[in-house]
Symmetry: C2
Subunit: 339 residues, 2 copies
């Protein structure tokens, strides 16, 4: 299985592997970036590598500088390749480092979490957090190659697995059709992590993301913004709950429910559809009914989102399955939908 | 006078102004970056601005972070404009900061030195120094607009004026024709800084650079590398002499002489042409006959050039006026041409 995605003037080739074949195989002068966890999956270590800590706390400029320093010390030139082996943080910061080392060197992403397989790996958005804003600093820099090793999915905790599954469900809600049916029809196998089924979902998810990314590579025309479904509510929820207490996927699942609830309150969203999604998210054990207690703090966090510096908060709302649009929301509706 | 330069998918509009009109005039939410010198040329200060120190020592990531922090604190969003008012350092770091703030905001360059007018302002190469390598970290990010205010040329020291003139001479050697004749025919006026003549030279220089940049926006096909004429020798000379002791332009003028000498030793470069260039550079008081004493240190510095990390040192050589190619050089020729 292969996917080729054109992003602006570049293109990303995605390949799927069941086994560990080619995991460390690269062409030229490579610098591998692992996290503390993924480095354990190697039988041998490559010549040039760096291990960084796990988690959002490492997604900052200082770590990018560590990567750049390692590249200089390894004598890597313009023909170098940076290879990220890890989750979203490792992928995002390695990609950012690759985009600015000598004004851009080659980049390979080997995402090891379900979330990074369907999210960070494709689309060219790189970034680090800055002054408490997520991804405030970054670039558009697509990987030349993405390698999906499905065996990594079996290494994930349930928490981490559900973290990625939420993005897959989001993609299925945006596109509907057979993709959504597959998730509802085969939900037990998905919950039990049948790798063949999950691999199909990853593939379908990436096909959807490819569509959005190719049409709107630099997030200019608003199309790609639909991929933020569940994210406006979700990011604010993450911000006030703390990233250690709620995973991105849980926050997105919660955010999807809140967006559907807001749409329902505005009599835009089909009630039956909202209930179907709600049941599905419950089936996968997402805590989507959590109420916000400190509403002032929540509204403040909504405003603090990077997308809203000096602008209005936009929400992605669905009328029904695969029927999506972007709008602002009246404050009373926001409040009612989260309390 | 206007020039429009297409760089990859973007384009840069260059406009010339004799007066201070429009100096602080921008459309949206702007952040101005001045250096200690240029901030004095304003009758009033804009709402958001930052003043940074002068010189290469400020061309580093910490200063980029200062710019990004100021942008966050000023509440600037994706619609922001970063405006650099200064020399090459201010232009390069502001451009780099603009390229990574929210994955890229609008950029206006107002170069205030002759060197930055003809060099840093056009071409999209942004950068900061890193771990003692010049411009090791950066991006390709063309400005939307470049505003050339010729009155700034009168504010420059002789040293700084000659710093920029060397790049103009280099452009004229690459292209030959009327541009080169103008420099030889009107050299007294140029030395005496006749602003009308100098403005023409800036315009001609930018037209040449535009040609190279449009054909090879990302320095892929080697064409744009010809703009490095005089720079391989020059950068190594700068490195061992110290940036405080030799200006970039002096080093480039010296490097051009050394490259022509190397070509002459290889019996590639026309002797009469090499002498003509040598006379012209002497007329403008460039110290092009300086001998390298510590040759080991010099050869080391040549290898240390960022372009040569893990690669061979390439030199731009001319057979004659407007007849240029790129090659490696035998070490004995390098040594003979600088000692």
């Amino acid at each position: 299985m292969k996917i080729n995605c054109k992003i602006g003037q570049k293109s990303t080739q995605i390949s799927f592997y069941k086994d560990r074949e080619k995991l460390l195989e690269i062409g030229g002068n490579g610098l591998f970036i692992f996290d503390e966890f993924t480095v354990n999956f190697l039988q041998e270590l490559p010549r040039n590598y760096l291990v960084i800590g796990r988690g959002e706390a490492y997604k900052r400029l200082e770590i990018v500088e560590e990567i750049l320093t390692k590249a200089v010390e390894s004598g890597l030139g313009r023909d170098a390749q940076f290879i990220a082996v890890g989750g979203g943080v490792v992928c995002d910061i390695t990609a950012f480092a690759a985009s600015i080392y000598m004004r851009g060197v080659s980049l390979i992403l080997i995402p090891t979490t379900l979330l990074s397989m369907v999210d960070a790996s494709l689309g060219g958005k790189t970034g680090v957090d800055f002054r408490s804003y997520k991804n405030l600093v970054g670039s558009f820099y697509p990987a030349e190659e993405v390698r999906i090793y499905t065996f990594f999915i079996d290494t994930l905790s349930t928490h981490e697995y559900l973290n990625g599954l939420a993005e897959i469900i989001k993609h299925s809600l945006l596109t509907g059709g057979k993709f959504f049916s597959k998730i509802t029809d085969r939900k037990e196998e998905i919950l039990n992590r049948n790798l063949d089924v999950v691999e199909e979902l990853v593939y379908e998810s990436l096909l959807i993301k490819k569509e959005y990314v190719e049409e709107d590579p630099y997030e200019k025309n608003g199309l790609r913004a639909k991929l933020n479904f569940g994210h406006t509510f979700g990011h604010a929820y993450e911000a006030i709950t703390g990233l250690e207490n709620v995973s991105h996927g849980e926050a997105v699942a919660w955010g999807i429910s809140r967006a559907l609830e807001a749409g329902r309150l505005l009599e835009i969203t089909d009630t039956h559809y909202a209930e179907t999604v709600s049941k599905l998210l419950h089936f996968f054990n997402y805590s989507i009914d959590t109420k916000i207690v400190d509403i002032t703090k929540f509204l403040e966090a909504l405003k603090h989102d990077k997308k809203n510096i000096n602008g209005l908060t936009k929400f992605v709302i669905q009328r029904n399955l695969a029927d999506t649009y972007i709008t602002e929301l009246p404050e009373d509706i926001i409040i009612k939908s989260v309390m």
